[in-house]
Structure formats: structure tokens, C-alpha cells
Symmetry: C2
């Protein structure tokens, strides 16, 4: 099989988020694709932000930040938040805001899922800093839930791929985790027992 | 608007990967959802692995690891790699393997996108360790490319959400990044000019 070297600037389907912080007392948001859960207990996530951005100043100032997940209907305004700097535009004014337990992590009422974090560690990398936050709480409006839990078809999250710079919607469900592999596990164990 | 507190164990749509390493000389793979790009230049990514797993031993031993992205057709074998430990099963034997520049990061021919990394930093967190790797190269077979670049509809990557533990396919494209926000930027600037 031919394998073609794709160089080292590779990205994968990324959940797009608006990372929020109070910068000099003013709510600001930055569109990011580099966000992931990183610790199970206590629950933590990390966001990797270019050092030149405006939002990190607010994360350091307050020791708090938000990670707000827009839906597909918010594609245009989300993209705008990735194009224009908070130094030049009042991005907080684009949304209905609310605050949670920390009181200093601005969250977006229009986003179907909002997470507020306390900063626990900053990892300095060459061009980006990785901000690791302990998750204080997540918030969703009732219309995005089924049986009290986030329903991702209702959330309709926005995904991003690079280098084609394309936004995507979540497609159909194709299976269940920690379950569909059990059939294969049983088959393989049966085969081994017969050898 | 009512907002319902979802506690702090929140996940978002995650690209599922098989993280590979040579453990005591034997290729092993672990299914993970906590993977993200973290640095622009040089390109880096990070994977967050529970400290009890078998694969981290190999990452530390060799200072290299792979991040292999399965497609939807590999859903069952991927889930299996998240259920069974490499201490008990030969997971490397499930795949056709190949190696790249590092020579010690096992990659999976069946995966439409494989990335090999050199370990640059380990961040210790309470229950997980975050392994930050510089991306040496990414590899795709020609059938997954369009005009020489990864085509994510052809790649058909596997996504995971929690706490519903559901695998998903990528849906339809809904827009272009660093482009669709420009219309809104122009409108807002025109409005401001008129005030």
C-alpha cells in the first residue's frame, strides 16, 4: 500500500469552542479548536492558545476561564470570534452572557453547552501556551437534554478540520463505546482457547 | 432561560485515536479520546492517558509514540483496543503495522491517518499524564486524499461523545473557517461607521 507523507501540520476533526475570560474587566471570547479533556479526577480540560492572543491575559488575571460550545447555527459568529481580536472589537456584546460559581468566567447563553474552569496550571510551549483548568461545572439549557443528560444531536456541535479549514456537523451515531468491542473480545478469547 | 447544571464530568465530541508505542519491544495500542493539537510551530499534539495504562511505559522507554486515526469501518476493533489491556492481549497482531522516520512508533496501515511523534514533555496530572509530542510526520494512503491533501469525507473518522458513550460519523460540511465570519465583520464595521 502506498503511504503518502503528509508533513507535520496535521489536524483532526476538532470540536470548536469559544474560550471566554474577563480581560481588564471586559468579557472577551476567542474561537479555538485545540481543546481536550486531560484529567479524569478531578475533571480537567486544556486549551492551547497562541501567545499573541488577547484572551490569555484575562485567564491569568482572574485564574478562571470558560469553554463555550457553539452549535451549527452559530457558525458565522463563531468564525468572526476567530478572525477579530478583542483588542479591536467588543465580542462580549455579541451574546447574552451569564456567570456561574466562579463569577469571573463569562459564558454564552446562546451556546448549548458551557463549561467554567479554574486555572490550575499553565504549560509554556514554543508558540502556544496550554491552559489546564479544573472543570467547576457545565451548563446546558433543558432543550438540549434528553433524560437530563446532554443530547449531542440536539446540541448540534460545530466541528473543524484543517488544513481544508472546513466546519462540519456531527453525523449519525455508528455504535456504542465500551460495548461494541466486547463481541470481538469474546471471539478472540474463544479462538485462543481452541488453539 | 433555564440553565441546568451538568456537573463537572462533561465531554465534547472527541476524535477517537489509537495511541501506539513499543512496550518491551512489542507494539501496543490504546484507544483514546483525549487528544488535541497544542502547538503551532513546531507542530505538537498531546494525549492524556490514565496512569494505570500499559502504553505509557513504551512512550517513556522509546521517547516516541504514534496517534493513529481509525475510520468508522474500524469501530469494533477500536472499541476492543479500549477494553482489553496490552498486558493480557497482543493488540499489535490485529493490524498491519508500519514504521516511519523514528523507527519506534508503530503505525496502523488500516488507519486512514497516522501521525508519529517524538515525546517532548510529560505533564503529570492527578489521575492522568499528558504526553506532549512533536509531530514528526503524518501518513495517509492516496485513496484518502483529494488534490494531495487529507479529505475528511474519505477519511471517515470516528468521533466519541460522553457520558452517552456514543460513536459518531462526521456529518455534512456547514461552512468555511477564517472566511464565513468576514461577512459579519464587514457588517459590524459598517454599522459602527454609521453610529
Amino acid at each position: 500500500m502506498s503511504r503518502i507523507n503528509q508533513g507535520n501540520h496535521i489536524s483532526i476533526p476538532m470540536p470548536v469552542a469559544l474560550v471566554g475570560a474577563l480581560v481588564d474587566g471586559r468579557p472577551n471570547f476567542l474561537a479555538v479548536g485545540w481543546v481536550s479533556r486531560v484529567n479524569h479526577q478531578p475533571p480537567m480540560l486544556a486549551v492551547a492558545l497562541n501567545k499573541q492572543h488577547h484572551t490569555p491575559k484575562g485567564i491569568i488575571e482572574n485564574g478562571t476561564f470558560s469553554v463555550c460550545f457553539p452549535n451549527v447555527a452559530m457558525e458565522q459568529v463563531t468564525d468572526y470570534c476567530g478572525i477579530v481580536s478583542g483588542r479591536k472589537a467588543d465580542k462580549g456584546g455579541l451574546f447574552e452572557l451569564f456567570y456561574g460559581e466562579t463569577g469571573t468566567a463569562p459564558m454564552i447563553a446562546e451556546c448549548p453547552l458551557n463549561i467554567e474552569c479554574k486555572l490550575v496550571q499553565t504549560v509554556e510551549l514554543p508558540s502556544n501556551n496550554l491552559y489546564i483548568g479544573e472543570i467547576v461545572s457545565g451548563y446546558s439549557a433543558e432543550r438540549y437534554l434528553t433524560a437530563g443528560k446532554p443530547d449531542f444531536k440536539k446540541l448540534d456541535p460545530l466541528l473543524l478540520t484543517m488544513p481544508d479549514n472546513t466546519y462540519w456537523r456531527l453525523g449519525e451515531s455508528v455504535g456504542k463505546a465500551w460495548k461494541d468491542g466486547v463481541t470481538l473480545k469474546n471471539q478472540l478469547e474463544e479462538n485462543n482457547a481452541q488453539v
